[in-house]
């Protein structure tokens, strides 16, 4: 019988007001196997930990139970204390008598009985505990950043500055993301390009950053510290190494097409760069629009190119990279207007979304910063801005707040009023959410200084009447119906995750929520980590957020990567699955059930009597295994066992509870 110590924490009044801690420790003293039991006011305090250490040493304890708060809080504290006293940390188990007992019950007598039962069960578990030792796993100190927007660039620059190589993968031909499309930024109204381009330029020239634009991550395998990813490099049809960026091709190309970058507000050539400050400043041929690809004739670009860099026969190729960590910064898109039937479902040219407004307000945009409406180029005299277009709307399956719309709508209205002083800007809003430094003041400025009319209420319908857009809504403060004739309607459509986020999540084995945003490991305490070790999150890939918040989060993610890379090897949690090869029948039912693909077949040789038998069994990749326990549940014969949560331990716990 092992010598076990039991420590019951009061947690001040948190536990002791509902659980009779004295009674619990007294009763545990008489429980078989318990050599020492005591209660203490705050075990997590320094003296509390000292008490644990001293007791372990003085009594030569072989296992301890700490009955306190959730193991999420202080398991590591108590395990470290035990380790300092020479006890293997995995012989320390926590009984949660706070979140699972005192906080959820009011009857002290019953709660005490429950606490005692739970502690006894944990004592039984500790009796079956074994020494576990972490394993060292090698580490590739190279990070893959997916997404070249402001968040991805921030991560890349931070990690590169710390001295580690970075691969920055961007699906578009140039970096900059959505921020590159913005006109000016709230709450300072400084030009987005002016603050972004120093960053893009730095990313472009940084010696530690390998830029892979026009590329996508298509496959990922391996684990924490040792991933292998396959990156698809889509053809640009231009040899970017040779190209000198003279853009003669763009100038002479006879084919004009709609520009994705301009969100339908402007045109581009079939061979072009998206915008003047693009990094890399290299053109790409739009295969679907190019005359040569359609008819086999033209080749104007080939004729004018001074360095012979047009390559119509270029094919996509896949490159493989070994990396240690992945940062997902895949950004956002806007909910398509086509989904919003009340606002015309995209059939009116002058009902545009926020990003389209950004383009017509941008100095580098198609109208060179003059706000003209798309249908006829007229300068609008009346603009209606509709907030929460799709957001906070259960019927559009977007019950969440898109967070940035209140602010950018105020900005749009101000930019408009600064240009058209006698124009009217009306904003329909549900609430104004301006939580941020200088944000509320910014909105007030729009209302007071720039005379933007804010109407609290929803818009029922936008329709066309006699060639004019009519916005029919309600002002809930005066309880009156409002009918406004508008030259331009701007919808603050909901922020949604990038179209390919879900597929990317599946590729990287990172979960997404119901809307497709990546799930963080803990909403408060681990916001930049995903549930998959070694994969971090930054920016709008995780949830809608503005630029300052994106940059902070991206810097946080970079810090996580740098912390990880600051060690020479990684230490794996020993609480992972293990296979009892004697029992394993090799059916491999565990293989498809493993979310982390940590299980593989292996042929082993075992001596049975006088024969050596060869057979197939399952093996665990300890680096990949996250200790979720799915395999041990799937294994019928119990050959699969989770260290630290073994079948033996759990059965003993159950037996103690059911007595």
């Amino acid at each position: 019988m092992k010598k076990i110590g039991v420590f019951v924490c009061w947690c001040g009044l948190n536990i002791s007001s509902t659980v009779d801690v004295g009674k619990a420790s007294e009763e545990l003293k008489n429980y078989p196997g318990v050599f020492y039991a005591d209660d203490y006011k705050y075990l997590c305090s320094d003296p509390g930990q000292e008490l644990i250490k001293k007791t372990i040493i003085d009594n030569k304890l072989e296992g301890i139970v700490v009955a306190a708060c959730s193991p999420n809080m202080h398991e590591s504290t108590f395990r470290a204390a035990a380790e300092a006293a020479g006890l293997n940390p995995y012989r320390v188990e926590i009984t949660n008598i706070r979140e699972q007992t005192s906080w959820v019950h009011s009857n002290k007598e019953d709660a005490t009985i429950k606490a005692i039962q739970l502690i006894k069960a944990t004592v039984e578990k500790v009796k079956k505990s074994e020494d576990l030792f972490p394993q060292q796993i090698p580490l590739t100190k190279k990070v893959l950043v997916i997404g070249g927007g402001i968040s991805g660039m921030t991560v890349a620059l931070e990690v590169a500055e710390a001295g580690y190589p970075v691969i920055l993968v961007e699906k578009e031909p140039q970096i900059g993301g959505n921020m590159a499309k913005l006109s000016e930024t709230f709450p300072t109204l400084d030009c987005a390009s002016c603050i972004l381009t120093p960053k893009t330029a730095e990313v472009g020239r940084h010696s530690n950053i390998t830029l892979m634009t026009n590329s996508e991550v298509v496959e990922s395998s391996g684990y924490f510290g040792n991933f292998t990813v396959k990156i698809k490099r889509k053809p640009t049809f231009v040899d970017w190494e040779k190209c000198i960026g003279c853009m003669l091709c763009q100038e002479k190309c006879p084919k004009k097409t709609n520009s994705d970058f301009e969100h339908g507000m402007g045109k581009r050539k079939a061979i072009s760069v998206a915008f003047p400050q693009a990094i890399p400043y290299r053109p790409i041929i739009n295969e679907k629009e190019c005359i040569y690809f359609k008819t086999g004739k033209c080749k104007m670009c080939v004729k004018v190119c001074p360095v012979d860099c047009i390559e119509f026969e270029q094919l996509e190729n896949i490159v493989e990279e070994n990396i240690g960590a992945i940062v997902v910064a895949s950004g956002y898109e806007l909910l398509p207007k086509e989904k919003l039937s009340e606002y015309g479902q995209g059939k009116y040219a002058d009902v545009i979304d926020g990003m389209q407004f950004e383009r017509i307000a941008s100095a580098s945009g198609p109208t060179e910063g003059v706000i003209r409406r798309p249908s006829d180029g007229k300068i609008p005299q009346s603009i209606v801005f509709i907030q929460c277009a799709g957001s906070r709307d259960n019927q559009k399956d977007r019950p969440y707040c898109s967070k940035i719309c209140c602010m950018y709508t105020a900005k749009h209205a101000m930019l408009y009023k600064h240009q058209v002083h006698d124009g009217t800007a009306t904003v329909f809003y549900m609430d104004i959410r301006a939580g941020g430094k200088g944000y509320e003041e910014f909105v007030q400025r729009a209302i007071e200084d720039d005379h933007v009319l804010y109407l609290r209420g929803r818009v029922a319908r936008v329709y066309e009447e006699d060639g004019k857009l009519v916005v029919l809504g309600v002002d809930t403060l005066s309880s009156e119906q409002v009918r406004i004739e508008a030259d331009l309607v701007v919808l603050a459509t909901a922020v949604i995750p990038s179209e390919k986020a879900k597929v990317l999540g599946q590729t990287l084995k990172v979960g997404t929520d119901a809307y497709g945003f990546f799930n963080e490991a803990h909403p408060k305490l681990r916001p930049v980590e995903s549930m998959t070790k070694g994969v971090f999150l930054a920016g709008c890939a995780q949830a809608p957020r503005d630029i300052p918040e994106t940059v902070s989060q991206a810097t946080g993610a970079a810090a996580k990567v740098i912390t990880m890379f600051s060690k020479n090897h990684l230490v794996s949690d020993p609480q992972v699955a293990k296979v009892n090869e004697k029992i394993c029948v090799g059916c491999l039912q565990c293989e498809p059930i493993c979310p982390y693909k940590a299980i593989e077949p292996e042929t082993i040789e075992v001596r049975i009597g006088h024969t050596v038998e060869k057979r197939q069994v399952a093996t665990i990749n300890k680096g990949l295994c996250q200790g979720c326990g799915a395999c041990s549940v799937a294994c019928r014969s119990g050959a699969m066992n989770l260290s630290g949560f073994s079948n033996e331990q759990i059965l003993e716990e159950l037996k103690a509870l059911c007595l």
Partner: protein, 324 residues
């Protein structure tokens, strides 16, 4: 026309003469007139005693583990093959073993028999009112001869319980087929008995199963007969941790049958052998059937009894509708 037995002998002869198999597994007459027991032949002479008829037979697939495990493990030469008489239900069992990586398909010669359902002599005796002295079976009827009178019974009345819920009347693929497909009727899935139990209150249901499990003598015949129970070491045989108290008590019987039902959930091929071998007639088919029914309903599986590479309960999907 040759009978199936004659055709089998011819085929067996050929297999042994051509040195294609090391063993043939079939049936022979048992100790009573109408019982059939497994038979193993290592040469043609030994196979002469084997017969095929429509009397109740035990399940053969499970013997393949014993015969072929070593081949699959690579201890014995890969080319060794075993031929086995295979009805539809046996075929599902064989598939189970192949899917579970216990045996390899290339080591098996499937000798297929179409089947309309096997005859339960006990049922015939009951209808006759005495122990039949002679039973003859034709296309549609069974004629049971008693001491003084004969009784003509329709086949449907005396077919084995497990055959009533048959989901595969002949092996889906075979190496040798001993007869043309019979004009068998596709049986409709019948979960009516299970639905009756579902309608019971929790208390009634508990009482119902208590009555059933009380009888269990823990002989483990159900487990030993089941092809889904193919573990190297069964969890009930492992002493540390002790999943099952050795005491024979109703609560432990509950544990045994529930754990077994969950271990074969999604893997049970509905052969009904567990129920057939039970010496105390515990309706295990109801328990396994309930799980099959639920799987078919919850996972949109057409037929839960047919083994597939990825089991409905054995897969991880990121888009699983149930959040985890």
């Amino acid at each position: 026309m040759m009978t199936m037995t004659e055709k089998m002998r011819e085929q067996v002869k050929e297999l042994f003469v051509n040195n294609e198999i090391k063993l043939f597994i079939g049936f022979e007459k048992g100790f009573t007139k109408f019982s059939r027991i497994p038979a193993f032949a290592e040469n043609y002479d030994e196979a002469k005693k084997m017969i095929i008829d429509e009397f109740e037979t035990p399940f053969l697939a499970k013997y393949l583990i014993r015969e072929l495990e070593e081949v699959a493990a690579g201890i014995v030469e890969k080319s060794e093959r075993v031929a086995i008489l295979t009805r539809g239900c046996d075929y599902l069992g064989i598939r189970r073993l192949i899917v579970d990586n216990i045996i390899l398909r290339e080591n098996i010669v499937i000798v297929g028999i179409p089947c309309d359902g096997l005859i339960d002599v006990k049922k015939a005796n009951k209808l006759l009112g005495e122990e039949a002295r002679e039973i003859t079976i034709d296309e549609e009827n069974v004629i049971a001869k008693g001491k003084t009178e004969n009784k003509i019974i329709s086949k449907a009345e005396v077919v084995l319980d497990r055959c009533r819920q048959c989901i595969m009347c002949e092996p889906k693929e075979s190496d040798i087929m001993l007869a043309e497909k019979t004009a068998n009727v596709k049986k409709n899935k019948d979960y009516s008995k299970i639905e009756e139990i579902e309608k019971m209150s929790a208390k009634e249901r508990y009482e119902f199963w208590s009555r059933q499990f009380e009888r269990c003598i823990r002989c483990f015949a159900c487990r030993d007969a089941c092809t889904a129970c193919n573990c190297r070491k069964c969890i009930f045989d492992i002493t540390e941790p002790e999943m099952l108290e050795k005491t024979v008590a109703t609560s432990e019987q509950f544990m045994f049958h529930f754990i077994r039902a969950f271990h074969v959930a999604g893997r049970c091929s509905a052969c009904g052998e567990c129920e057939r071998v039970c010496p105390v007639d515990i309706p295990l088919g109801l328990l396994n059937g309930k799980l099959r029914k639920d799987i078919e309903f919850l996972f949109n599986v057409e037929e839960a009894g047919i083994p597939s590479e990825i089991e409905p309960l054995g897969e991880f999907k990121l888009d699983d509708p149930d959040e985890w």
